[in-house]
Amino acid sequence: MPMDVLDRILRPLRRGRVTSRYPAAPPVLPPAARGLPELDPARCDATAACVTACPTGAIGVTPGEWAIDVGACTFCAACARVCPTGAIRLGARIELASDVRSDLVVRRPTGGPR
């Protein structure tokens, strides 16, 4: 039993380095991590279901263009769930910081009607 206690004490010492190598290495993300919402223009029908589903009103659809304000996005994936054509997917991009506010608005062309 004392050996068991000793083992528990020594385990962290034997484990070695746990510190992340970021930013020298890319961030290690868990599989369920959600990053920047990405639109596949080829599948987008411009139904604008994502616009009404977004809880923060971050998405806007105008003729020919889909735009998301990453500064308002909460990465909740509601847009991806409601999209009838599955054109939106939350990617693995998390390094989104910018020193220009307008740079946080991502614009993509839509492929569908309108």
């Binding site: 010492l13 930013p23 304000d69 500064g71 910081a97 020193d99 946080l104």
Partner: protein, 178 residues
Amino acid sequence: MSAGPPELGTEPPEPGTEPIEPAAVLELRRTIRARLGRSLHVRHLDAGSCNGCDWEIAALLNPYHDLARLGIDVVASPRHADLLLVTGTMTRNLEDAALRTYEAMPEPRMVVATGACAISGGVFRGSYAGRDGIGDVLPVDVWVPGCPPRPEALIHGLLVAVGRLAPFDASAAAERTR
């Protein structure tokens, strides 16, 4: 001296766990020193957040992320800080305190808006009880999106603030192949 385990801290690193590239870290430290004359000192300010962002900031100090390895310290007073890391929407009751915190900082000073709330109000946008983001009250230098931002995203934001990493560019993201 002969047998037994080697002295702590002198073991050769296991493959894949070598120290972080000294070049990258040293360059960052050089940049911080060139701009400030010493390490970057960060003061965290809660301006009405849900504490999600604050927990991610707390995670920066754990052994896994270990912010201090990059030459960045979290300090307990705005008077010691170069950079104000603000979370929350800037509620009405905290406006005065936030302004006084900012004014207590010595020059040069930077403000980083952390999370969707601090940038745009997030899910609290349009609330009677606060502003839509801290930008109405404080001059923001860097915006860090996320709800909350991952610790890596916060590190990225801090490094953008010291001019270490390239900021997020939406047009480049749009052109990026999926």
